[in-house]
Symmetry: C2
Subunit: 323 residues, 2 copies
């Protein structure tokens, strides 16, 4: 069994790759980044993942390295930013190379794919907790904000939604999936793909965007609230992957509308941009689906395939309300 | 007893003050900052504080709000950066207004004094953990780095050191302080003052800097290692506050040389800059003391008041070695 290592050796061994875009990476009191061009804004977001809350004890550390960075990159995607750099603060019960090695591999593999550099961090002993802060850049005035939705906009969603909630329900014993569906659903929950490329391609085309983390309707609700508009969502239009498509309709709706953790991009764009949206999606190889319309009516209304109004019984996730 | 509140209400009530220097603060997927002028670099640091490790259960939340930001600001100080913005990720066992209210007050009070804005964050349920990431700016090439010390430099320390370790020893039962000394020592441990102003004034004067968090000798060791130089420290020259000055010499040395958590600025500067260093210190109202000299000899050597060589029996703090 490999021996536990010290704090400084831990950082040196697993989190000290050379940086190329930063002027100074880990190892001093601060990292240093060159100022971006004056026409750019810096986009910043931070997310904390806690063992027992966001992931189970014993979770695959390689997948966890991926997911911890993915959920942060997804916040950059949600404003259409280009990833630049990130910091990592890590509390661990012990400095175990058998956990650190695969965790850092999962983290760096995703970082390399999106050309984002680890530039600094902090390690301490404590209940396993991962806090990542990401920095990106976006041309001034082109960020896709929650407040940008306009009356008449189409509502679009990338990829498919609901698989992460489907996996969670299986884990919780709410239902039992067959082995094929289980593998597909857990892969979606454990390895979300931040929609960085699509979101960048939608700058200047989309009006508003958010990533689906709390639940599709809950996250759309944030857009409506900040944009001071209403919406109709055609709930049976929401795209499902193969695992979810074979489930009973009530379960499918629950997973798609209330389930978070898919990290797909929900965005709005005016109908005249439909071809441009589709072209952006095609160029990125990410399917997109229109699922509703922004309007000036009050709140969020749901409509099923038969044109009937459905009740919104799909509350979003709140860390201090839910268990 | 006030009721517990939800995640979104928590953010809205305690962490959503308007921003002035940022283009967009909390409430969207990312915060947005204008790019700093092209002659500037962005300095970034992150620190995580864990209950039971960095602070005790039941610690005064107002002091904790101060300290959580202070230790991060101290990292900006250590490179001579000007504070700009910070994010806050918070895991809490519950959303209790009796904790949140004073915590946010302590945090904002220090933030306001240094004109640094809270621009975003994350809240989740979990073991009480505070992770702050700070951003600052520094003119290109003027950052005070650990790697900048040169043969012949004086070694300086700001303020007084050792009081935080003196308080810790009292708490741990290693010794018992009288009430005056205890109050003074705990105040230093709980309310460190980041040396932002002094560090900025030392840009262009000092060669290297670090903040004392792991222990004076340990942190000086980081400077020596990265600068590839050695040093002699005159251990009895280290400045002590009134509480520590009255302690037995062995305890005083232990607290000053091995004790971290004081967040004073340790820096090196060439002897020809002595007047400039003193003038910078006077302008900021922060005393500074010369405690040794950088040289080309091997490692770190200690010398007492009688000119005798002393053993270095003062290891620094390592989160995965110490308990």
């Amino acid at each position: 069994m490999p021996a536990s290592i010290g704090e400084f050796e831990l950082i040196a061994r697993y989190f000290s790759r050379p940086v190329h875009r930063a002027d100074l990476g880990a190892g001093d009191d601060c990292a240093l980044l060159p100022a971006p061009p004056s026409g750019e804004q810096i986009a910043i977001s931070t997310d904390m993942l806690v063992e027992g809350r966001h992931f189970l004890p014993g979770a695959d550390p390689e997948a966890l390295g991926h997911k911890a960075l993915a959920v942060n990159l997804s916040d950059l995607a949600a404003v259409g930013a280009t990833p630049l750099a990130f910091t990592l603060a890590l509390a661990l019960p012990d400095a175990d190379p058998r956990w650190l090695e695969p965790f850092s591999c999962g983290l760096y593999a995703l970082a390399d794919r999106h050309a984002i550099e680890l530039i600094g961090g902090d390690t301490t002993r404590g209940p396993r907790t991962i806090c990542i802060t990401v920095l990106g850049t976006v041309p001034r005035g082109q960020a896709l904000l929650r407040s940008g939705a306009r009356d008449g906009d189409d509502i679009w969603i990338s990829g498919t939604v609901g698989d992460a909630r489907l996996a969670l329900g299986d884990r919780r014993g709410e239902w039992t999936l067959d082995s094929t569906a289980r593998a597909a659903a857990f892969d979606r929950m454990d390895r979300p793909e931040p929609r960085i490329g699509l979101a960048r391609a939608l700058r200047g085309i989309a009006h508003a965007a958010i990533d689906v983390s709390d639940g599709l309707l809950a996250d759309l609700g944030h857009v409506l609230e900040q944009s001071r508009v209403g919406a109709v969502v055609e709930i049976d239009r929401c795209p499902a992957g193969p695992a979810l498509a074979g489930q009973p309709i009530d379960r499918r709706r629950l997973c798609q509308l209330a389930g978070g953790d898919d990290y797909e991009l929900l965005f709005t764009a005016p109908p005249r941009q439909r071809d441009a949206v589709q072209a952006a999606a095609d160029a990125c190889g990410v399917p997109v689906t229109r699922i509703g319309r922004i309007d000036a009516g009050p709140g969020l209304r749901l409509m099923d395939d038969d044109g009937r109004v459905a009740d919104n019984v799909y509350p979003g996730f709140d860390h201090f309300r839910a268990d």
